[in-house]
């Protein structure tokens, strides 16, 4: 008897003994007493081996010849299908398990019996020690995983699962065929598929909870469905870069971290700097530029204004850039006045501060306004957050444009916004302007619905260009209210109230110019690392 035949014989004995051992259990008595039992085995094992049950129809399959073939039995024709030591030979385990299960009536059983990886093989990976045709090793978990892939979990229940090691000799050498039980047995019962199964498998959303607001999804007026848009990577190597930094010595010094970052992103690119003549020596000493061009749009000191609308200046710049072409050009000036020169550089990509609304030629833009622009640090509180005794109010203003209003006693004219502020030093400007005559008011600051006065009433003249300002400190969080009062025996003249501007004193949270330039070069570096094109597909 050859080794292979001996292994086969061992298997048959194992299968038979497994079922003999279980034959007296209620579940297996039920299975083995069924009328229609189909027993699937691998062709070639001992033909004298007895069947599991004398009622069983034995079907011998040959793999890989039978791979992918459906069994020629009708659906739901069997009470039990028993597969013994077969599944491990089949490549398409999903198809085989599904086909065997297909034959079962509701209430029928699928019994699958496979060798156990750590009882039979006793090794971690293929090939098998004893049969090179094994496609996979099994544990109970991996067998169940294959079953879950093959079958809808609503169609069956696992009724029995066992690692059979009865009589297994744990002292035996792994190289030798195992003695005793060394298999996994799983029994599935086909159940009636519940009505909700399809909805569960389609993962249909749970019905909305009654009363919960539905979010509106509006189609904008005139908007219609467009095509499928494809955004594709556009491989692009940046070989030549022009960097403009035309302003003054201090500006150039601040730009150095950004320039270093640019070199770090593009280590092999040829970088040309365009700067004022006064910065050229420092730029040369900096050592990261391959070429330095000088162009004096500004003056070294502010004795002369920049040549804004000077056609000759533009012509000089154009002449200097003639014949030069760059993959990328960057203007590192945060203010917008030099951007026109950027547009004059022949470059495939242009980058700078601003936004595309103002500079449509920018391919890469950092849409941050100059932090030194006025009011950047102020938080605007709109007039809609305030109450008004007189005048008309909309989202943008409180407007009192009727005849002058005489008050014999102080009256609250405007009050709000009841905003919670944390500890800190604040400054609030009340944006109230006269429409004609100046007039005077009192303004105070209160907390806790007016019960606590934070700032006593002070006289202010409402006039153009100068807004009443109140400075105050909070040691603990308060709900703050600004109140504008009329004065005793004084007129209230027509006015417009635009809200308040609040800021924290002695604090600056916005970016520094140096940080902004660094952000721009980082943006350029990242963008040019993954440039893209946009196209449409007609479908």
């Amino acid at each position: 008897m050859s080794g292979s035949e001996r292994n086969m014989d061992d298997r048959v004995r194992t299968v038979a003994s497994s079922f003999e051992r279980l034959a007296d259990t209620a579940l297996f008595r039920r299975i083995l007493s069924s009328k229609c039992i189909l027993e699937i085995r691998l062709r070639g094992h001992d033909p004298s081996a007895t069947s599991i049950s004398h009622r069983a129809t034995r079907l011998e399959l040959d793999y890989p010849a039978d791979e992918g073939k459906a069994l020629s039995f009708p659906d739901e024709s069997q009470d039990a299908v028993l597969s013994s030591y077969t599944l491990q030979h089949i490549v398409d385990y999903r198809g085989a398990i599904a086909d065997w299960f297909r034959l079962l009536r509701v209430g029928g059983f699928l019994v699958i019996n496979v060798p156990h990886q750590f009882l039979y093989e006793r090794k971690l990976s293929l090939p098998s020690r004893f049969d090179a045709s094994h496609k996979r090793f099994y544990t109970a978990a991996s067998l169940l995983m294959e079953i879950e892939e093959a079958l809808d979990p609503h169609d069956y229940r696992v009724r029995y699962l066992e690692d059979n090691d009865e009589g297994f000799d744990y002292n035996a050498e792994p190289q030798k065929p195992p003695s005793g039980g060394h298999n996994i047995i799983v029994v599935l019962e086909r159940i009636r598929r519940p009505d909700y199964a399809d909805a569960v498998m389609e993962d249909k959303p749970i019905e909305r909870v009654e009363g919960r607001a539905r979010r509106p999804v509006a189609i904008r007026a005139g908007a219609s469905d467009g095509p499928t848009v494809i955004i594709r990577s556009k491989p692009h190597q940046v070989r030549t870069i022009a960097v403009m930094k035309l302003d003054h010595r201090g500006d150039f010094i601040l730009a150095k971290p950004a320039m270093s970052e640019l070199r770090r992103y593009f280590p092999s690119a040829a970088i040309t700097l365009i700067c004022g003549q006064w910065n050229a020596p420092d730029a040369a000493a900096f050592g990261i530029f391959d070429d330095i061009l000088t162009f004096n749009f500004f003056s070294e000191t502010r004795v002369a204004a920049p040549k804004w609308q000077d056609a000759q200046t533009d012509a000089e710049f154009a002449e200097m850039m003639r014949g030069r072409r760059f993959d990328l050009a960057i203007d590192l000036r945060v203010d917008l006045d030099t951007r026109k020169f950027l547009s004059m550089i022949d470059a495939e990509h242009r980058a700078g501060f601003g936004n595309q609304m103002r500079f449509p030629f920018l391919d890469i833009d950092l849409p941050i306004a100059n932090p030194t622009a006025p009011d950047r640090e102020k938080f605007l509180i709109g007039p809609e957050r305030f109450f008004a005794k007189i005048g008309t109010r909309d989202e943008r203003k409180v407007l009192y444009n009727r005849s002058s209003y005489f008050t014999s006693q102080p009256e609250f004219l405007i009050w709000g916004p009841y905003m919670t502020l944390g500890p800190g030093s604040y400054s609030v400007e009340v944006d109230v302007v006269p429409l004609g005559w100046r007039f005077s008011v009192d303004i105070d600051l209160a907390a806790n619905a007016g019960t606590e006065l934070l700032k006593r009433p002070q006289h202010y003249t409402v006039r153009r260009k100068v807004l009443p300002r109140l400075d105050f400190d909070l040691k603990e969080p308060k709900v703050v209210e600004v109140r504008v009062l009329s004065r005793k025996h004084r007129f209230v003249r027509p006015f417009r109230f635009n809200g308040c501007r609040l800021r924290m004193r002695n604090q600056w949270k916005g970016p520094h110019q140096q940080e902004l330039m660094y952000m721009l070069t980082s943006l350029v570096g990242l963008r040019m690392n993954s440039p893209y094109t946009v196209s449409e597909v007609a479908s």
């Binding site: 992918g68 490549v91 398409d92 385990y93 999903r94 198809g95 599904a98 294959e146 879950e148 892939e149 093959a150 079958l151 809808d152 979990p153 498998m201 993962d203 959303p205 749970i206 019905e207 909305r208 539905r214 979010r215 999804v217 509006a218 189609i219 904008r220 908007a223 219609s224 469905d225 467009g226 095509p227 499928t228 848009v229 494809i230 955004i231 594709r232 990577s233 491989p235 190597q237 940046v238 770090r264 992103y265 593009f266 280590p267 092999s268 570096g525 990242l526 040019m528 690392n529 993954s530 893209y532 597909v537 479908s539």
Partner: protein
């Protein structure tokens, strides 16, 4: 050798999940003679089981819940192409330099959120309701049955996969790879 297509059919929000991955997988096997390998979390395993049920086990492989993040990366590195929704696997694949087709719903702007890499194609349908900002699992709140996704056809996606597979592999630009 069959081209290996890695698919990640589920994201963290159902609004982002393109519903045609099964059709695309079948097309990839039929048209490209590919092996399709599905990746995802263990929680997504049952859904992917349903997606590939009755399809041959040697061509449609469910790795959900079976691979660590590092192992997933190793699989992606060997892939001819990765197809994902707007999800982490798309970003991971792009970072690794793998060819990626990323399918975006109208919930997010791809220009803000698309995977960045040298072999990336992002597909998005410009529907009139873009952007809706219906993220997460608010599928039932979409009155248009997610047409931003359903209007992207498996054939269009297959066409994009073909293009990416045919392209020579473009390495990440020298000097930038270490930055990223």
């Amino acid at each position: 050798m069959n081209p290996q297509i890695v698919m990640s059919p589920y994201s963290n929000g159902r609004m982002r999940d393109w519903p045609e991955f099964r059709k695309l997988a079948i097309l990839c096997v039929k048209e490209l003679d590919a092996t399709v390998e599905f990746v995802g979390s263990s929680a997504q395993r049952h859904a992917v089981n349903a997606l590939i049920r009755a399809l041959p086990a040697d061509r449609y492989i469910n790795h959900c819940g079976r691979l660590s993040w590092v192992q997933t990366g190793a699989l992606i590195r060997t892939a001819a192409c990765v197809v994902s929704n707007n999800s982490g696997i798309g970003h991971f694949s792009a970072e690794l330099g793998a060819p990626v087709v990323s399918l975006f719903a109208a919930t997010h702007s791809p220009f803000e959120w698309m995977p960045r890499g040298s072999n990336v194609s992002v597909m998005v349908r410009r529907t009139g309701c873009t952007p809706c900002r219906l993220d997460g699992n608010l599928v039932s709140y979409c009155p248009y049955n997610r047409r931003c996704l359903t209007a992207i056809t498996p054939e269009d996606v297959l066409g994009e996969i073909r293009q990416l597979i045919a392209l020579p592999h473009t390495p990440v630009q020298p000097g930038c790879a270490d930055v990223l």
